[in-house]
């Protein structure tokens, strides 16, 4: 794959809910390797719905290419390996009894041996700074710690794209700053949905603005924020 080929390419994405409401009305979106993009917009404007199409959890009409591969039934598993999703509530994501096991889940799914998966998991936990909690069950950790464990779980699977949906919702300012430092040091391409514009601006230079199922603006984040009075 050449450096000029986008890592995410979406053309004409449409999606309708079961009850008929049109959630996405033709979205075009391109991201290049290493880019960081903030997705802004009102609640219900389609940001999260759009994200869920990128790894095939929702399937709409249109063309989606991740890492040069078209999204289809046969490529779902591969694409899900390449995209690391951090959902809004870490409790939805940490389902295994202990922290270490949960973080090791990704590598094991990819076929690593238990020894190698454990090694990768410990490395990821070290990276996010919660090594001490490795043997604990998730419910004994604070919200910020759980967030970091969820992130470790994704990093351990070595994705190429990171997708974060409202990561700062349950975080206090110190945890938020820690998250910024952490994310800033990661090489992956980053898609970030956040109402915390200051947080988004510290990480992403580019933003797209969603309005009623369409992307209505795509450009430097300061401009978008100013244009839509989004802060």
């Amino acid at each position: 794959m050449s450096h000029h080929q986008p890592i995410i390419e979406v053309r004409g994405l449409r999606f309708r809910y079961e009850d008929g409401t049109e959630a996405l009305k033709g979205v075009d979106f391109t991201v290049h390797r290493g880019e960081r993009v903030a997705l802004l917009g009102a609640n219900g404007s389609g940001k999260t719905t759009f994200l869920l199409h990128l790894n095939g959890i929702l399937r709409g009409e249109g063309h989606i290419e991740i890492c040069g591969t078209e999204l289809g039934d046969s490529t779902l598993k591969w694409i899900r390996r390449k995209t690391g999703f951090l959902f809004q509530d870490p409790d939805d994501q940490l389902f295994l009894p202990t922290v270490l096991e949960d973080v090791a889940f990704g590598p094991i799914e990819q076929g690593c041996t238990t020894a190698e998966a454990t090694r990768k998991a410990r490395a990821a936990l070290e990276h996010v700074g919660v090594s001490a909690e490795a043997a604990r069950p998730p419910y004994r950790l604070s919200a910020g710690q759980r967030q970091r464990v969820a992130l470790a779980g994704i990093l351990a699977a070595e994705p190429e794209i990171l997708v974060l949906d409202e990561p700062t919702t349950h975080l206090d300012p110190p945890s938020r700053n820690a998250l910024v430092t952490l994310l800033d040091g990661l090489p992956q391409s980053l898609l970030l949905v956040s109402h915390d514009v200051a947080f988004a601006a510290r990480l992403a230079r580019r933003a797209v603005f969603f309005d009623q199922g369409r992307i209505v603006a795509d450009g430097p984040i300061d401009e978008i924020v100013r244009r839509f009075h989004w802060s």
Binding site: R80, F85, F87, D89, Q93, F95, P97, T114, P137, Y139
Partner: protein, 244 residues
């Protein structure tokens, strides 16, 4: 709310993650040992009060020694048997009122001892290892997976319950039947929504929920020793009441 019991379990959970000889034994063997002990307690015939006292003494000693060997506070473990009192107490009282105090004492002694034995098991075995051990013994995997999920998300549900109750009280709502019903309904709806999100997160991470242990179960010679010791203790216990 039985929240206090859950926080009571917190200590047991901490204890369960120790690494003494007993902690390191295979959970299957520990489960079988516990069952042997429970069976011994259940069938041990007590010849009079002395017999009952002997059974209790032997049982308590076995548990005391095992707890001490596992580096746990023995008295703490033994005292946790009190949870049987609400149910057992009623029937013991009934038996006593009917003029059968020995039966009352037997009920109390046996159920308390049995509960303490289970506490010891849980204090030396992390829950997920125990569940994995049970699956290795033949429990259907679906049942094991559901149990893991239930335990994992129980705290989430209780947290939400707690928040809703606090919010309701803050709004001046008293404790009413209709409110409790509404709370439970909201919890149900929210749980269904959460289940959907958990499923999505699972999909995003690559597939079905698989509860693999990173440190797989392996039987060792030491486990055989434990089983032998448990069998011997169980036999002693079962016979102890019949001596006088």
């Amino acid at each position: 709310m039985r929240d206090s019991r859950l926080s009571g379990y917190r200590s047991v959970e901490d204890w369960s993650r120790g690494c003494t000889w007993l902690h390191r034994r295979d959970p299957r063997i520990k489960l079988l040992s516990t069952l042997l002990l429970l069976a011994a307690i259940a069938v041990a015939p007590a010849r009079g009060y002395t017999g009952l006292a002997l059974i209790s003494a032997v049982g308590l000693s076995i548990l005391f020694l095992a707890a001490a060997a596992a580096g746990l506070p023995p008295l703490s473990i033994l005292l946790r048997g009190w949870v049987v009192l609400p149910f057992t107490g009623v029937f013991a009282l009934l038996a006593w009122l009917e003029g059968n105090p020995q039966r009352a004492a037997t009920l109390l002694a046996k159920s308390w001892l049995s509960a303490a034995a289970v506490v010891l098991l849980m204090a030396t075995t992390p829950l997920e290892r125990l569940l994995a051990g049970m699956q290795a013994l033949g429990i259907p995997p679906l049942l094991g997976a559901v149990a893991q999920f239930v335990w994992r998300y129980l705290h989430v549900a209780l947290d939400q319950l707690h928040r809703m109750q606090v919010a309701r009280l803050a709004r001046g709502g008293e404790r009413r039947f209709a409110f409790a019903a509404a709370t439970v309904a909201v919890l149900f709806a929210s749980s269904s929504a959460r289940a959907e999100r958990v499923h999505r997160a699972l999909l995003a991470r690559g597939g079905e929920a698989r509860f693999l242990l990173l440190d797989p179960l392996r039987l060792k010679l030491a486990d055989a020793w434990l089983l032998a010791a448990s069998l011997a203790s169980a036999l002693v216990l079962a016979a102890s009441g019949g001596w006088p």
